[in-house]
Symmetry: C2
Subunit: 362 residues, 2 copies
């Protein structure tokens, strides 16, 4: 199967095999060395000197950690959403007693900085701003993060970014951009199986933590920070996934971050060009297309679920469909992490053949 999802992604064989290594004591010196090593390497990819903590949970766990550690209950928050994963922050803020102002932009578009400024000006009580960097559900990368930071800082608020499906694949500069809290997850550009997620925490975010009375335990980041100082995690970690992550980080650092970003930019272009050449249209607006996932509008005469089924059953290629309201409306073609050009090309062939089978004429 050619797995062309925006995560989980194909895990390179050496990374998968690393996960099968003999089990170790999570309270012993081998694990201490492992967590210190992976944390240092994660910081190199995050481009940060902030704390980076690794949680045994999927990306949504890191998003929940961001909310319960840094958003006081009953406080005002601005949620900027351009898709399903932005909406997840909306649900989380609401679940944990935040008072949310929600700025929802058309799916397929990026967020607009002017409207964000207006929303902040209208509500001086907003203390926390949530935004998705790369919206997996629509194939859009929000280009505004560096400018958004300044706006949020002027408002004296904290900025929390979901960079789950972008960080490590496309440009993201945690410290240069001065982003307070950044979430990511192992099954994306990190080329590892799902099960671990990451969260970076600035000094300013730690101050907010101290003032925040929100109940928390499993995701209490201060427990994670203290345990890390002893080379441990507060709760038993997903050791086999951690072994794999260690190997994947070595491969990433050997390749180099600039080279990885350039490779993803080329992959995004290759897929977009290929898709357009079939006479299909992109769902994402021009100029804000993601370099980790391409969203393709299903032509009105075709059935999106049928396309997925034929591609999988006849051409051994797994694309993702649309989520929530976009079900059946779009096809999502993932291109992040480990992806030889040959895999991208054969997935393009699979899509082309599927369209032929369905008698699609551009």
């Amino acid at each position: 199967m050619n797995l062309r999802l925006p995560g989980p992604i194909p895990v390179p064989e050496p990374v998968a095999q690393a996960g099968a290594a003999p089990m170790i004591n999570h309270r012993g010196p081998e694990f201490a060395s492992l967590i210190q090593r992976t944390t240092e390497k994660l910081k190199q990819i995050y481009l940060t000197k902030n704390d980076v903590l690794t949680l045994t949970a999927s990306g949504t766990g890191a998003m929940e950690a961001a909310v319960v550690n840094f958003m006081p209950p009953g406080s005002h928050a601005l949620v900027i959403t351009i898709g399903v994963f932005g909406n997840r922050f909306k649900e989380l803020v609401s679940a944990y007693g935040g008072i949310a102002t929600v700025l929802e932009f058309n799916f397929g578009s990026a967020a607009d900085l002017g409207q964000i400024k207006d929303a902040l000006e209208k509500n001086s009580e907003i203390k926390t701003v949530f935004v998705t960097h790369n919206e997996t559900s629509t194939g859009v990368t929000n280009p505004i993060i560096p400018d958004l930071v300044k706006v949020v800082q002027d408002h004296d608020a904290l900025l929390i970014v979901d960079a789950i499906s972008s960080l490590s694949s496309v440009e993201f500069r945690t410290d240069d951009w001065e982003v307070d809290v950044v979430c990511s997850g192992s099954q994306k550009g990190w080329m590892t199986a799902p099960g671990l997620s990451f969260i970076s925490v600035s000094e300013k975010a730690w101050k907010r933590f101290e003032e925040n009375s929100q109940p928390r335990f499993y995701f209490d980041l201060l427990r994670h920070k203290k345990a890390l100082a002893d080379g441990q995690t507060p709760w038993t970690p997903a050791i086999s996934v951690w072994f794999s992550l260690d190997k994947a980080l070595d491969m990433m650092i050997e390749e180099g971050l600039d080279a990885i970003w350039a490779r993803h930019a080329r992959a995004g272009q290759r897929v977009r060009d290929g898709v357009r050449a079939m006479g299909l249209q992109l769902f994402s607006q021009e100029g804000v297309e993601s370099n980790t996932v391409t969203s393709i509008t299903v032509p009105t005469e075709l059935d999106g679920l049928e396309i997925l089924k034929i591609a999988r059953e006849r051409y051994s290629t797994v694309f993702a469909g649309g989520q929530a309201g976009l079900k059946g409306q779009i096809i999502r073609f993932g291109h992040l992490g480990y992806m030889p050009d040959s895999d991208l090309d054969s997935a393009l062939d699979a899509l082309r053949n599927t369209l032929v089978d369905l008698n699609f004429k551009a």
Copy 2:
């Protein structure tokens, strides 16, 4: 290394290798088949027809799920503790706004049913009772669960049991005993790497869920139940660990539950006999010793941390030390899941040789 911890435990090679299989779509038919298969097999080991949900989190995540799903904030709870993991329920109840009556028994002892009855009689408002079945930190199995159920039912309360380090290894009958909520974790008798935890939920517990206003999201069990009906999880699951779990469950079901329980009883006896023959004393009281972990009192003239260090460095054997107040006071020798007799015997040899090196005379 001979890993003799009470979890994580050595993962059999076929189970470890299963985890390195090619990645799959967590929203596709392969995962739907996987989760339906593992859930059915988990129910066979849990001996239950109740829902059994699998979380991408360590055992503490399942404990947190039990608290946030079934203990309303501001409600009264009884926490029965005989060690560090019982105390973890105390911390969780307190973190999530419960009003806890704590019955703490001497570490090394089991809980006393008479005192539990008294505590319940004194407080008619107690709605939830928390107890540890097998206390990993002290090597004690609480034998009272079936009787405790009746007492808790008479009180019209809900019983939540941490069976993380016992279920699948020693006798536990979820339905026959009528236990409402039971937690376990993949890195224990389940012979799998850490990263997944399990929680069973009775009809009565689901009714409590409906009345419970506690905020929750990642661990919201109704979301997990609904997703399971579609062959999915609400958030991306730890797929590689899940592959391993599937294989481990096959091995367990092939061996048979009675045979597994008998094997653990023999292993516990073998280790206790071996330890006593060295002139060492058990920390756990006679009659309630755990068959998954043996706790050994460090002789006053010796240093517990030194014993661990020598066993590891000279004899390639990893025992666990005491946790919290028991640090340096006890050695914990794990014998659960995959453990050929030869591994137990060589670990006993390692301990014996360590004592010789330290000039210990019984």
